[in-house]
C-alpha cells in the first residue's frame, strides 16, 4: 500500500521535476541538434507523460519525428559497430565532459529509437564512462540511466517466468547499475525503487539487489566513528589541522600554526618559500614533557604517512624513549591529601580473583609522544623551527638534547645521500664538541634499532 502511494507521489513529483528539468536540458540539446521549435514543444509533454503511462504500447502510438533522432548521419553509421555507444559519448562531449553533456548523450540515445534498441549496451558503456564525466557519484544520473530501460516489458507475467531468469541480460545490466552505485557508496532513493519496480517488477533481481542495498547501507552509513569528509580541505594548513586533530584524538589538544606558508623574495631576487608548520599538543602532553628527565634526549621522528581517502599526508612526532624502570618514581601516598575521606584504606586485603574484571594485557611501554606536527617541507631546519615554537609552552626543550631521526621523506626518494645526512644531531643548548662526538656512534646504533619499530608504525 505504502509503496504504491509512494510510487504515485513520486511519479507526480517526477512529472513536475522532469518537465522543468527536461525543459531546460532538452532545450539546450535541441538547440545543438538544430531541430525545429514545434518539435521541441511537442516532445516535452510527451516525455512528461511517460511517467504516468510507461507502456511501450503507448509510446508506440506517438511516433517521434524522424529528423529528431536522425540528426546526424555519422551517428547512424557507427551505430552498427560494437563500440558505437562509447563513441557516442566521445562525439557528443568532444571538448568538455560534464554532467550536462552526459545527460545530453542519454537524451540523444533515448530519443533515437522508441524501442530503445541496444539499451543494454548503451547502459554498460555509460557506466564505464561515468567517472570520466565526473558523475559517478550522482544519484540523479544513475536514475536517468535506469530510466533508459523500457518499462513493463521485462516484468514477469506469471510464476514460471518469475522462477526462471526472465530477460537475464537486462536484469544483469540492472544489477550492474546498482552494483556500481554500491561501489561508489551511492544510496539509491525511492525514485530508483519506482523505476526498478516499473522495469523489472517487485521480485526481479535488480529490485532484490535494491532491497539488500537498502538493508545494509543505512546501517553502515555512520559506522565509522572518525569519518573523513568527502571533500578534504584544499588549504594545506587546514588539511594539516584536520589530520592532526584526527590522529591526536584528544579534545583538549591545541593546534598551533607555527608558520603560514609564504613566499619571500630576497634582495638578490631569489624566491624563498617558507613551508607551513602546524603542530598539535595537548595539556597532558605538556605535563608529560615537563616531567621528562632533561638528561635523556627527545627525538623528532618522521615522516609517517597518514591516508585520508585518496590523499596521503605525512606527519612528524616528538617523542622519547620509555623511562627505564629504575628511574620511575611513584608518587608517595600522602595521608593528609584529602580533607574529607581516606583516599586509601590501610588494609592487607586484595581484590578477590573472582572480581578481577581487568584482562591480562601485556603492557609494552612505548615511550611518550609529546607533540606532533605537519609541515610542507620536512627538512631539519624546518622541524627545528617547530621545536623552537614548542619551547614557548615547554621551556624544558631548551635543556633537553633533541635528536632528529628523519627518514627519507616522499620528496627525498631520489637522493640516497641526503638521507644519511639527515641523521645527525642537534642541540639547543651549547654543548662541548667532545660530548657531541661521543654521542655520535651511539645515536647511529639507536637509529638502526629503531628501524623495525618505525616500519611497524607505518603499517598501522
Amino acid at each position: 500500500m505504502k509503496c504504491a502511494r509512494c510510487l504515485l507521489q513520486l511519479q507526480c513529483l517526477r512529472l513536475v521535476g522532469q518537465s522543468a528539468r527536461s525543459a531546460a536540458q532538452r532545450g539546450a540539446l535541441l538547440q545543438s541538434a538544430s531541430s525545429s521549435q514545434p518539435n521541441a514543444l511537442l516532445s516535452t509533454p510527451h516525455q512528461a507523460l511517460r511517467g504516468f503511462h510507461g507502456s511501450p504500447a503507448h509510446a508506440k502510438g506517438r511516433p517521434v519525428p524522424a529528423e529528431f533522432i536522425d540528426d546526424d548521419d555519422d551517428e547512424k553509421k557507427r551505430d552498427k559497430s560494437l563500440v558505437a555507444h562509447d563513441d557516442l559519448f566521445e562525439r557528443v562531449a568532444k571538448e568538455v565532459k560534464t554532467k550536462a553533456t552526459f545527460n545530453k548523450v542519454v537524451d540523444v540515445f533515448i530519443k533515437r529509437d522508441v524501442r530503445r534498441r541496444g539499451h543494454v549496451e548503451f547502459i554498460y558503456a555509460a557506466l564505464k564512462k561515468m567517472p570520466e564525466f565526473g558523475v559517478e557519484r550522482d544519484l540523479v544520473v544513475y536514475n536517468r540511466l535506469l530510466d533508459v530501460f523500457p518499462k513493463e516489458v521485462f516484468v514477469p507475467r506469471n510464476y514460471i517466468q518469475q522462477m526462471f531468469n526472465h530477460y537475464p541480460r537486462q536484469q544483469e545490466c540492472g544489477v550492474q547499475v546498482l552494483e556500481q552505485m554500491e561501489n561508489y557508496g551511492i544510496m539509491p532513493n525511492v525514485e530508483t525503487k519506482v523505476l526498478l519496480v516499473q522495469i523489472f517488477g517487485e521480485k526481479g533481481h535488480p529490485t532484490r539487489k535494491y532491497q539488500r542495498i537498502m538493508y545494509w547501507f543505512p546501517k553502515f552509513k555512520h559506522v565509522n566513528p572518525f569519518p573523513v569528509p568527502q571533500q578534504l580541505p584544499e588549504d594545506p594548513v587546514d588539511l594539516a589541522r584536520f589530520s592532526l586533530t584526527r590522529i591526536a584524538n584528544d579534545r583538549d589538544a591545541k593546534v598551533t600554526v607555527h608558520q603560514l606558508p609564504c613566499t619571500d623574495v630576497t634582495e638578490s631576487g631569489e624566491q624563498i618559500t617558507q613551508p607551513h608548520i602546524v603542530g598539535i599538543q595537548s595539556p597532558s602532553q605538556v605535563e608529560l614533557l615537563a616531567k621528562h628527565n632533561p638528561s635523556r634526549p627527545v627525538f623528532v621522528e618522521g615522516p609517517f604517512p597518514l591516508w585520508l581517502r585518496k590523499k596521503c599526508v605525512h606527519y612528524y612526532v616528538l617523542r622519547a624513549d620509555p623511562t627505564p624502570p629504575d628511574e620511575k618514581v611513584e608518587e608517595p601516598f600522602d595521608p593528609e591529601r584529602c580533607l574529607d575521606y581516606p583516599l586509601q584504606l590501610e588494609l592487607d586485603l586484595d581484590r578477590d580473583l573472582g572480581d578481577e574484571e581487568s584482562f591480562d594485557v601485556e603492557d609494552l611501554d612505548e615511550g611518550p609522544v609529546f607533540a606532533m606536527c605537519m609541515t610542507g617541507r620536512g627538512d631539519q631546519a624546518v622541524l627545528n623551527q617547530w621545536i623552537s615554537g614548542l619551547q614557548e609552552n615547554n621551556p624544558i626543550l631548551g635543556q633537553v638534547p633533541t635528536l632528529f631521526r628523519l627518514e627519507a621523506g616522499p620528496r627525498e626518494l631520489q637522493g640516497a645521500a641526503d638521507t644519511e645526512s639527515a641523521h645527525y644531531h642537534h642541540h639547543h643548548g651549547p654543548e662541548p664538541e667532545t660530548q657531541k662526538e661521543e654521542r655520535q656512534p651511539q645515536e647511529e646504533e639507536v637509529t638502526v634499532e629503531e628501524e623495525p619499530r618505525t616500519s611497524q608504525r607505518m603499517k598501522r
Partner: protein
Amino acid sequence: MMNVNRIVSKSVQIGQRLLARDTRHAGKEVARLQQRRSIRTHSRNLAYAKDLFLGQVNKAEVFPYPEIGNEEVDELNQLVAPVEKFFNEEVDSAKIDREAEIPPETLNGLKELGLFGIMVPEEYGGLGLSNTVYARLAEITSLDGSIAVTLAAHQAIGLKGILIAGNEAQKQKYLPKLSSGEHIAAFCLTEPGSGSDAASIQTRATLSEDGKHYLINGSKFWISNGDMADVMTVFARTEVVVDGVKKDKISAFIVERAFGGVTSGKLEDKLGIRGSHTCEVSFDNVPVPVENVIGEVGGGFKVAMNILNSGRFSMGSSSAGMIKKLIELTAEYAATRKQFNKSLGEFGMIQEKFALMSVNAFVMESMAYLTAGMMDRPGLPDCSLEAAMVKVFSSEGGWICVSEALQILGGLGYTKNYPYERYVRDCRILPIFEGTNEILRMYIALTGMQYAGKELTGKIKEMKKGNIGMALGMVGKKLRSSLGSPADLGLTGKDGVVHPSLAESSKKFEQNVGLFGSTVESLLYRYGKTIVDEQLVLKRVADVLINLYAMTAVLSRTSRSISIGLRNHDHEVLLANTFCSDAFFKNNYWMTQLQKHSPENNDANIKKIAREVLENRAYVCSHPLERTY
C-alpha cells in the same frame, strides 16, 4: 579483643548512667563540665555507627535517647522564646533575599541575643551552651537561610578553630570579641583549584627573616562572610622539616583583617542564601605573628578536618525546623483551598506529601538530637561519622520536602508572593556545602570499611586460604539466617531497650543490621582495599548505613517518648513504624544490589553510559528525526 571491647563499653555505660543522673540533677554543672571537656585527653571509644559495619548494635551508645536536665530545659525555653520572637517579627526574609543584604539592625539584634557565640564558653563571653542547645537554636535560625549561613560561617567553622585547637592566649584574645559579634569570623580553606584536595592548596605562608612573622600569600574562594570578617582562620602551606627532609605541610593561622594586605573581591551573585556574603579573599604579604598559628605548625590538616567534622550535625535540626515551618504554612493552605467541593487535604496525593514531610522532619530531628546528645557526652567523642550521616540525610530530605511543599501550592508556590521558591533556592545549597554529599558518602562508607576491615582481615584471609572449618561455619551461619531465625540483637525482649509497640520495626532494624554485617564482609572479601575505587558500591553502603542510623534514632527517640508519656507519642509511633518499614525495604533492595551478579545492579551499564558520554563530551544519540536513507 571482643572481650576488651565489651568491658570498655560496659564501663562506659556505667559512666554514662552516672553522668546522666548528674545531668538531671545539676544542669549547671554539666555546662561547666562541657567547658572543661576540651581539656580532657582521654578519648572514649565511641563507635556506634562503625559497629554496625560488623553487624553489631552497640545499644548502650544510643539507648536511652539522650536528654537534657530540667534546669537546662528551662534555660533553653527562656532562650528560645526571644529568638523565636525576633525571627518572627524583626526578620524580613523576603527583603534580605531581594536586596542580598542582611540589614545592620537585624545583625545587631542577633548579636544582642548572643547568637554569635552560642557555644563559646561563658568565660570568653559566649553563652557556653551545649551542642544540643545549639541544635535547638539552629532550628529557629534556619527560618532564614541567609542568617543561618552567616551565623554558621561565623561560629560553626569560622571561630571553631580557635575554640577547639587554639591555646589559652589565643582564646583570651579573640573569643570575647567574636562571641559578642563585635568581630565576625570566616573560614578560609577553599581555593580556586582546591576543594577537598589539600595537596593543591596554593596559599603559602613563609617565615620572615626575623622569625617573628609569617607572610601569607594567595587567595581563597567562596568565603562566607569574606567581606565583613575581621578574624579569619586561614589555611596555608608552610615549609616544615620532618626527619631532616623539608616538606610542605598545611598550617592554620588566625589572620586579622587589621594586619593589612587582606582584600576581598566582588560578592558572588548566588541562587539562594542571597543575604549571606560570599566572596574571594586575597592575601598579599599579610604579616601574621607566629603566635597566631593554631595548633602546631604543619598541623593544619588535622585542625581543618576537626572543624569540618564538628560543624555538620546541626544541619539536621535546621532542616527539620524549616520543614516544620513549611508544614504549618502548607497545611493552612491545603485545609482552606477547595477544588471540586473538596478541600485539598482530602486528596490522596496531597496527603502523601504531608506524610512525607512529617516523617522526614521527625527522622531529621531524631537523628540531629541523638547526635548532638552523643557529642555532649564527656570525653572527646568522635561523632564525625554520625554527623556526616545527619548532614547527608537532612540535606537531601530537606530538598525533597521543600520542593513538595511548593508543589502543594502549585503555581502559587512558584511565584515570589510566597516564600516557597526562596526556601527551594536556599535549600539547594545544603547538599553542596560543608562537604558535598558525594564526598561525605565516601567518608561514611570508607571510614566504616576501614574499621570493619581491620577486624575482619584475619578471618577473610583464613577463608581465602581455604580453611574448611571456617568455611563450614560460614555456611552454617548463612543457612541459619536463611532458615528464618532472624538476627536477634537484643533490642526487644527481656533486656530490651526498645518499647514493645515498636517491636516490629525493631525486628526489621535488627534484620537489616545482620544483613548489613554480612554484606560488608562479602564486600571486603570481594574488593579488599580496592573498594576505594568502587564508588557506586560505597554509595549504597553509605545509604544503607544512613538509613540504619536513622532507624536507630527514631526507635530510640520514640521509645523514650512512650516511656515518659510525651504528648502525641502515638503519632511518633506511627511515624517511626512508617519510616522503619520504608527504610527496611529500601535497605533490602540496596543490599540485594550489592550481591555478586545481582540482576538489580546496573552499575556496569551506568559506568558505560557515562564513559561514552564523557568521551563524546555531549549527548551521544542522534536526533530521533534524523535518517540515513
